[in-house]
Every structure is written in structure tokens, then in C-alpha cells.
């Protein structure tokens, strides 16, 4: 479903070579390594990966929200274009400027709606706080605004809910409140860190639908952080797959699902029960040997990364070349928007050597 007619949307966020290191007692840990991706205005980019792949650290780095007690080293650039059209490097901004951006230009929703609301304030007060902070409204006007936000996120009896405390709301309701809170200042970029993971399936669908509607209405961009490929397929425009702190494959969503290039992406897709069923129906797999595919092994420790490709120890297609060096992220010569980090990919210099060896 490509809209080829319109000219490419302007860039909202352009992350270039972002790396985040943690200085721990066991040594310097590279949690995010050389990550580059971009989000166009009004579009959704998904960061996909399993736990510990660095996707949350990426978003927290962008927001300057990593715990200040940890010793952190960040390098790279994150060029953000504000509402007014100014472009700035988020990573170079001082804290005071960042505070004006957080909640205002860039808002965030978290995985756990049960604990991301302050238990001692009513939801109205919490939404109003953000509005007063960034839009400078007075108390009454801010509460009015909060009520409109609750209506926007389809909370029934909003005027009454406004004066309720978080514990009086269900998980789905709380996530709606979180979204209202994030949307209150009409952000240009919404970072959604696994917003539906803690919710049950029917509520998940509602929340995703709500986010999609709000995106269409407000034209905001979304950075969607998730490990749920099903959600990605429905809601993202671009996908970046992360493994062990690096992007291993980046592509428009349809291309990625149609033809995953990296063995890790292929493995992830094979893990989906729906894919399994499709293979069975196509007669590719015997129904009697019904087992869900799982990528063997575990993510390698960031303290002792394998010498070559980080995925090599778990990769079914690994060859000896894979152990030599981390492959570069290559752009597909036939498709400018596709990138992959694997020696098996044709255009990769190492692939030629691999062929020569074989």
C-alpha cells in the first residue's frame, strides 16, 4: 500500500550513528552501537528486537532519560525537526532545552500503564500539569483541556473520570490516560515504548487503533518500540530490526515482511504462529510435527560479544566468514530504502569472499 503519488514527507527525526555506552564495574558495555534510522513527519518507524537488544536504551538516550547515576557515554547525532521547522541535535541539547522539548515536542508512553501514573493525583491533575507546564494555561483552562484530551482518547464519562485516581481505572483505561497525557501538548513525535505489551489482546487492538487515529488527525510521527511483529505489520511504515545493540535490517514494512533478508529477521518471522500455519497450509511442513520455530540459543552477553557478527552463534546459515568481523550495514543496490547487515547478502564485500572460500 505505497502512496507513491505524494512527495516524500519531511524528516522528523534523523538518528545518525547513535552509540550508547555504559561504564559498569565489569567494563565498558556498548548497549547501542552505531544505530541510524529516520522517522518522516506523520509516519511510524518501528524499532523491533528482543529484550536487551537496545531498543529501549535508544529511546531513552534520545530523551536524555537514562538514569543520571549511571556513567553513560553517548555519541552520534539525532537531528530533530521541531514544529516550527527548526532542526536541532537532541544529543547535544542542554537539559533545560531538553525539558522544554520533552512532553511538548516529543512525548513518550510507557509499557506499564499500571505504574506510570502517579497514584496520589487524579488523572485530570496529571494531564493538567503537563499542559500548564508547556502551554502556560491556568488551572481551570488546563483541566478543561484535560477533559477534552480524555474525550479524545475515547474515555467514557470523561468529565467524571477527570476527578478519579489511577487505581480506580482499569489497565486499558490507564493506557488511554497515558496517551492523553502524552498527546496533551500535541507532540510532533510520540515515542511509544511497548505501549500495548501489558494489555490484553482486545484492549491492545483498541489502543493501537486509537494511536493510529490520533496520528492521522494530528500528523505526528511515532517511534514504535516493540517486540511484537504483528503490531509492526499493521502499524509501522518503516521497520528497523535491532539485534545486540545494532540495526541488522531496515526496510519499509511491506518489503521486510515480504522478503526478510537477514537471517535474524527471517527467524523472527518464522517464530510467528501465523507464519507457521501458512507454511503448514502450503504443505511445506508436516502438520503432525507441529512445533513452533524458535531461534536457538540466547543473546550473547554485551560484555563478551562474539568476534564477528553478533548473531553468528545463533545463526543457522553462519559460515566461517561470519566469525571474522562484524559485517557493515549495506544498502540494497536495487532498493535504496533497504539495508541489511549480513555477509550472505549479495552486495556485501564479504559475501564475495565467502563465495570464493566456498
Amino acid at each position: 500500500m505505497h502512496l507513491s503519488a505524494s512527495k516524500p514527507a519531511p524528516m522528523r527525526l534523523d538518528v545518525r550513528h547513535l552509540s550508547t555506552f555504559f561504564d559498569t564495574d565489569e567494563g565498558l558495555v556498548r548497549s547501542v552501537a552505531d544505530v541510524s534510522f529516520s522517522i518522516h513527519a506523520g509516519k511510524t518507524t518501528a524499532l523491533v528486537g528482543e529484550s536487551g537488544s537496545g531498543k529501549s536504551v535508544t529511546s531513552l538516550t534520545l530523551m536524555h532519560l537514562l538514569s543520571r547515576t549511571a556513567s553513560i557515554q553517548v555519541s552520534g547525532q539525532a537531528l530533530f525537526t521541531s514544529r516550527a521547522g527548526e532542526t536541532m541535535d537532541l544529543l547535544a541539547l542542554p537539559e533545560s532545552a531538553m525539558r522544554r522539548i520533552r512532553g511538548n515536542e516529543i512525548a513518550m508512553i510507557f509499557q506499564e500503564p499500571m505504574t506510570s501514573l502517579n497514584p496520589v493525583f487524579t488523572v485530570g491533575e496529571q494531564i493538567a500539569e503537563s499542559v500548564r507546564l508547556h502551554l502556560g494555561l491556568d488551572r481551570q483552562a488546563a483541566l478543561q483541556h484535560a477533559r477534552r484530551m480524555l474525550e479524545l482518547v475515547e474515555i467514557p464519562a470523561a468529565a467524571q473520570r477527570l476527578h478519579e485516581y489511577p487505581h480506580q481505572l482499569s489497565g486499558g483505561m490507564r493506557q488511554r490516560v497515558m496517551i492523553a497525557l502524552a498527546m496533551a501538548c500535541n507532540p510532533t513525535l510520540l515515542i511509544a515504548d511497548e505501549p500495548t505489551t501489558a494489555l490484553d489482546v482486545t484492549i491492545q487492538a483498541q489502543i493501537l487503533e486509537l494511536m493510529r487515529r490520533l496520528q492521522l488527525e494530528t500528523g505526528m510521527s511515532i517511534l514504535f518500540i516493540t517486540h511484537n511483529l504483528g503490531v509492526v505489520a499493521h502499524h509501522a511504515d518503516e521497520v528497523a530490526v535491532m539485534y545486540a545493540g545494532r540495526i541488522v535490517e531496515a526496510a519499509p514494512v511491506h518489503d521486510l515482511f515480504a522478503k526478510p533478508l537477514h537471517p535474524y529477521t527471517q527467524g523472527l518471522l518464522a517464530c510467528l504462529p501465523a507464519q507457521q500455519r501458512r507454511r503448514e497450509q502450503a504443505g511445506l511442513q508436516d502438520k503432525s510435527r507441529r512445533r513452533l520455530y524458535a531461534i536457538r540459543g540466547q543473546v550473547s552477553s554485551p560484555l563478551a560479544p562474539p568476534p564477528g557478527c553478533a548473531f553468528e552463534p545463533r545463526c543457522d546459515q553462519a559460515t566461517s566468514v561470519c566469525r571474522n568481523a562484524m559485517p557493515e550495514l549495506q544498502t540494497d543496490p536495487e532498493h535504496a530504502q533497504r539495508q541489511v547487515r549480513c555477509v550472505l547478502f549479495p552486495g556485501t564485500p564479504a559475501a564475495a569472499t565467502a563465495g570464493a572460500h566456498a
Binding site: R99, R102, F110, S116
Partner: protein, 279 residues
């Protein structure tokens, strides 16, 4: 009259209700001292000295013939005021220190080591030393006691701050662009109200006892101010001939301190049911 649910829950335990009533009576007696007795607490009547409780002197008189009931009622004003100010001071300072130590990790060690050092002194010894330095006056007793109880509050508040600061809604607040000062004041402090409230009642009770102890040891409030402590202290040598002059102020101290402790227990159990002790 229907009490709010919280209060009804609090008073479901009879002992807490009794404690609250006793405390209420003590406070009322102190506040309304000039209405419930016609005697001047400092008026001496040597002819009446050391008279046993009787129709005109309900609790008897002391060694100078002063009416004991009047002195206990008026003394309650001082004792309760000293205790209240102590609790207020200790809570204020302790909360500030605990909040800062718990939130700003680099200030944690310097603040908490000083706090630990202060806690390593016995309470009364530290209070005596402080009063000795500051000089004996009512305000200095309050100051000394407040300093003595500050570490207790600081530790409780720090511990709770460490828990609350890691909760997701603090990160969420920061993601909304809320400043650090505002996060401390608006997002962390309100979540610490329960442990602080419990500390208030305990420190109030400790302060009543400590003031009495300091006065008894002669380093507290100057003896011309009637507090329960100075009353017990001043009359100890007559105790063998007139037991009541030690007994009644002592009972006032015990009743008030015990009521406060029980009430504090009740409040704590109400706010944190996991800590409930079987009584």
C-alpha cells in the same frame, strides 16, 4: 454524625479509639485549662502545702501549695507545645534531608553518614549535650530535641524516596518535561505522606518523654515554667510523703505518650496493612 470511612477503619480497633479519646481529653484539658480550673497554676498557698486530693484540690497540692490539677492542665500546654514543635521541626528538617539524600545519589553518602553519626549517640545524651551548648530555655529544648529526632525521620524518608524515585511515574513525569524540583515536591513528597504521618505521632510521643526526662535531669525547661517534666523533677524529694505530686504528672506523661504511640500504630496499620501486627 457519620465519620469518614478512613476514620471508621482506624477506630475499628478499640484500643486506637480509646487512645484517640484519651489524647483528645488531654489536649482539650490543656487548651481549656483556664475554663476547667479556677486556680492559678503558679499561685502558692503555703498553708495548703502537700494536701492530699480533696474536694477543692481535686488532685491535691504540691510542696508550695499550688493546685496540682491546674498545674497539670496548664503544664500540658507547655509539654504538648514543646512536643508538637519538636515533631514539626524534626519532620521538616528530616524530610528535607531524607528527600535530598534519597533523590540525589551523590549527596546520599555525605548526608547519611552525618545522620548515622548522630544516631549513634543515645538520644538523651545528645539532647543534654545540645541543651548544654545552647543554654536552657524552652526554645532551645525544642531545638535540641528536634535535632535529636531529625535522623530518624531522615532515614525513613530516604528509604521511601529510594523506592518512589524508581517508580515509572517519576520517569513518566520527567518524560513530560517536569523539572527536578517539581518532581521532588509534586511527585515524590505526596507519595511519602504515610510514612511521614506515622513518624509524626511517634516523634510527638518521644518528645513528650524526652522533655520530661530532660527537665527531670535538670537540663530542660527552666523550672519556673510548669511542664509535666519540671513538675515531676521539682517534687521528687516529697514523693515519699505525698505520692500524688509525682504520680499525677507522671500519669499525664504516660497517658499522652502511650496514646500517641497507639494512635501511631493504628495509623501505620491503616496506611500499610502489610505491617499489621496482631494485637
Amino acid at each position: 454524625m457519620k465519620l469518614p470511612l478512613t476514620l471508621r477503619k482506624l477506630f475499628r480497633r478499640r484500643i486506637v479509639l480509646i487512645a484517640a479519646v484519651c489524647l483528645g481529653l488531654v489536649v482539650m484539658a490543656a487548651l481549656l485549662a483556664n475554663l476547667i480550673t479556677s486556680f492559678d497554676p503558679n499561685e502558692t498557698a503555703v498553708s495548703q502545702r502537700l494536701s492530699a486530693p480533696n474536694a477543692s484540690h481535686v488532685l491535691g497540692t504540691d510542696e508550695l501549695g499550688r493546685d496540682l490539677f491546674a498545674r497539670i492542665a496548664y503544664g500540658g500546654r507547655y509539654s504538648l507545645a514543646i512536643a508538637a514543635m519538636t515533631a514539626f521541626g524534626a519532620i521538616g528538617l528530616g524530610t528535607l534531608l531524607g528527600l535530598i539524600a534519597g533523590f540525589f545519589r551523590w549527596l546520599d553518602t555525605p548526608i547519611m553518614r552525618v545522620v548515622d553519626a548522630m544516631m549513634s549517640f543515645p538520644d538523651i545524651l545528645l539532647a543534654i549535650a545540645l541543651v548544654a551548648i545552647l543554654g536552657p530555655s524552652m526554645l532551645n529544648v525544642v531545638l535540641a530535641l528536634a535535632l535529636v529526632y531529625t535522623p530518624r525521620v531522615a532515614r525513613v524518608v530516604r528509604a521511601s524516596t529510594l523506592v518512589v524515585r524508581e517508580l515509572l511515574f517519576i520517569e513518566a513525569a520527567r518524560a513530560l518535561g517536569v523539572s527536578t524540583a517539581r518532581i521532588l515536591w509534586r511527585h515524590i513528597l505526596p507519595n511519602l505522606v504515610s510514612p511521614i504521618l506515622v513518624q509524626v505521632s511517634f516523634i510527638f510521643a518521644y518528645a513528650i518523654l524526652a522533655e520530661a526526662a530532660l527537665s527531670f535531669l535538670g537540663v530542660g525547661v527552666p523550672p519556673d515554667i510548669p511542664t509535666w517534666g519540671t513538675m515531676v523533677a521539682g517534687s521528687q524529694q516529697y514523693a515519699h510523703q505525698a505520692l500524688w505530686i509525682v504520680l499525677f504528672p507522671g500519669l499525664a506523661i504516660i497517658l499522652t505518650a502511650l496514646s500517641l504511640q497507639l494512635l501511631g500504630d493504628g495509623v501505620r496499620d491503616l496506611l500499610d496493612p502489610r505491617l499489621k501486627k496482631s494485637m
